[in-house]
């Protein structure tokens, strides 16, 4: 059982919409800074924008946990193409931006996050596993704040990798803190049968559960974090993640009752 608080949540859903390239935030470069932006990919930009936005204050010693399936694919492809095009003129600035954990690396430098930073991919179970990891950093007292980012900004190559899936760009962000009266319990046991895979948010009080079948877990995660942030004392929200092969992960968050 983990005890924590949620200080801030936001969603970056700029990018492709219905197959068309959408608008970017008008203050993008103001927030993330122009230095080195030429070598960043849209995923790194999205993560930096979320965490560096003025509404989300940061501090040294924090932990960064990014859950993503395709992460910095665009930058990896960009480096490969640039080498073919530019040869000896290839800039050394490409490579630091073109690793599978570049977004986390540049976030760490920006924020001063010296905690157990990680980028992980557990397919549809990614949001639950990443949240567990973020809360573990708080529970072990290695950090007092964890920055949780879940989602994808799909490069064209990533979209090709699973043509059948619905691809909607988005990254959800939750700033989690060690103090608070939310309690989280996790279950990673194998249950259920093989199905299409997806996410479900269950609520107290007779509200119908919300289901998400799209591949990108950002939107379900944002729904869950927003609901957890606004729970009343004693209320519960349940986040279920389903793999198409039958594995499932469940997170149950309850708001503690105030002490008399």
């Amino acid at each position: 059982m983990f005890t924590f608080g949620i200080e801030h949540t936001s969603l970056y859903d700029y990018g492709t919409k219905d197959g068309r390239l959408g608008d970017l935030p008008p203050d993008l470069l103001d927030v993330i800074g122009p230095s080195g932006d030429k070598y960043r990919d849209p995923f790194t930009r999205a993560c930096l924008y979320l965490v560096r936005h003025p509404a989300a204050t940061t501090g040294r010693g924090d932990t960064i946990v990014i859950g993503t399936e395709y992460g910095n694919t665009a930058a990896l492809a960009q480096l490969q193409r640039a080498a073919a095009d530019q040869g000896r003129l290839l800039s050394a600035q490409h490579f630091p931006n073109a690793t599978s954990s570049s977004a986390a690396a540049f976030l760490a430098i920006n924020v001063g996050a010296t905690g157990p930073n990680t980028t992980l991919n557990a397919a549809r179970l990614t949001p639950a596993v990443a949240l567990w990891r973020a809360l573990l950093a708080l529970a072990s007292a290695q950090s007092t704040t964890s920055h949780l980012l879940i989602g994808d900004i799909y490069a064209p190559e990533a979209s090709l990798d699973d043509r059948a899936a619905q691809h909607r760009d988005g990254v959800a962000y939750g700033k989690l803190c060690a103090t608070g009266n939310l309690r989280a319990r996790f279950d990673f046991s194998v249950k259920g049968t093989a199905s299409g895979g997806g996410f479900r948010i269950g609520y107290d009080g007779g509200q119908p559960a919300r289901e998400y079948t799209e591949r990108n877990g950002a939107f379900a995660t944002m729904d869950f974090l927003s609901r957890a942030q606004t729970l009343s004392a004693g209320e519960t929200v349940v986040f279920e993640c389903f793999q198409s092969t039958g594995q499932r992960a469940e997170v149950v968050v309850t708001k503690g009752r105030a002490l008399r």
């Binding site: 490579f95 599978s100 954990s101 570049s102 991919n121 397919a123 290695q142 699973d162």
Partner: protein, 398 residues
């Protein structure tokens, strides 16, 4: 890391590396300091002629493939083949069988820096990759393929922390076991040859025509390599009497420098060392040997070497990248597997450099290696670009 006191043991290991397939071939080359470096093909106009690298030999890949079912032999990408074959070796080593009751509940945690690189690079180049490609360059497929082949139905994940990936995956596995989510984990790391990665290192002038010389005054370049290492981890209550654990995982510490995209930072790395020792309940003087990250780069070896000289004076240090090269995301697994073998064999393998050219006041093990009767605690370091640091501390099973 969790604060639970559940004890975690290594009951099996598997390796594939430029030494060949199997932990025995790997240890044999390490003991002998036998290098298998060769010139790499030029991948772009900016690459230095004669740049050295180290590859898994074709015979080793064939041996790995031979462990798989017919369908998997032609359809699995190389990273999946390497990881899965190592997992099968590790399970055999642990006295377990794929799909049995114990393995069915296993969690799978694999670290990789470049994932299914060969598939993405083929897509970018407009080449068709042999075998099925739909959904294949998603890095999760490495863990998924391994889980399917060994019959593990629990949580599976791939962790990305550049060259610290494997030890970070080990940390995930240990925490999942200590948090009670499973009693067995299959953990490790893997990276196969990646053109993008080689180009990247080349653009940084980090690789070249002379071999890796860790901690030597003459060091200049990293020697990139490929391979995988996998460990079977079990909680104390799940280890049976007929099993003989190789090591106990006392701690895995993970942190970040938050300083520079590529350069190592002494403050961050020193902090990771202290965190690992604190969690293991040990002092530096307790550590019997350190398997250093030791890449042969000017900066890493200076920073890591200074920490050894200041905090681990006299502790035997060795750097296996001087023998097998740098397995990238699999490097931490290679170091941790080697640490297990060192405990079992009571032997610290040599770093193949001239002892008279060692920089700093290190007790760097060279020459014929060091017999170390009673070796009790061993440390395995892994650091990566982006400030990623992960250190594992292992102990002889009590």
């Amino acid at each position: 890391m969790t604060t639970s006191n559940v004890r975690v043991f290594v009951t099996g290991i598997g390796m594939i590396s430029p030494a060949g397939f199997g932990a025995a071939a790997f240890w044999d080359d390490l003991r002998a300091g036998r290098r298998r470096f060769q010139e790499m093909p030029s991948l772009y106009a900016g690459m230095k002629p004669g740049t050295l690298g180290a590859f898994v030999p074709a015979t080793a890949k064939e041996a790995a493939v031979s462990l798989l079912r017919t369908r998997d032999r032609t359809e699995l990408p190389t990273a999946s083949i390497f990881s899965t074959a190592c997992a099968l070796e590790a399970l055999t080593n642990a006295g377990l069988r794929p799909g049995d009751n114990t393995v069915r509940n296993a969690v799978v945690c694999l670290g990789s820096s470049d994932g299914q690189a060969e598939i993405l690079e083929a897509v970018v180049d407009g080449r068709r990759h042999s075998g099925s490609t739909a959904g294949r360059f998603n890095s999760y497929t490495i863990a998924e393929d391994l889980a399917r082949v060994v019959g593990a139905a629990g949580l599976a994940l791939t962790a990305h922390s550049t060259c610290a990936s494997a030890n970070v995956a080990l940390a995930y596995a240990v925490d999942l076991l200590r948090d009670g989510f499973a009693d067995i984990a299959i953990a490790g790391g893997c990276d196969t040859f990646s053109a993008k990665n080689i180009i990247g290192f080349s653009s940084l002038q980090a690789i070249g025509p002379s071999r890796c010389l860790p901690f030597s005054q003459d060091r200049r370049f990293v020697t990139p390599a490929e391979g995988a290492g996998v460990l079977v981890l079990q909680t104390e209550r799940s280890v049976t009497e007929r099993q003989q654990p190789l090591a106990e995982v006392l701690a895995v510490a993970v942190n970040n420098d938050a300083s520079h995209p590529t350069a190592t930072d002494k403050v961050g790395i020193a902090a990771c060392h202290q965190l690992a020792l604190d969690r293991a309940g040990l002092d530096p003087s307790d550590i019997g040997a350190v398997f250093a990250h030791g890449t042969g780069s000017r900066v890493n070896d200076m920073v890591e070497g200074e920490i050894f000289a200041e905090r681990y004076p006299g502790t035997p240090i060795t750097a296996i990248k001087g023998t097998v090269g740098h397995l990238m995301g699999g490097a931490g697994a290679a170091g941790t597997v080697a640490a297990c073998l060192a405990l079992a064999d009571e032997f610290v393998p040599p770093t193949p450099v001239d002892p008279d050219r060692t920089e700093l006041a290190l007790n760097l093990i060279t020459g014929a290696g060091l017999a170390k009767p009673g070796l009790r605690y061993v440390q395995s370091n892994a650091f990566g670009f982006g400030g990623n640091n992960a250190i594992a501390v292992l102990g002889r099973p009590a």
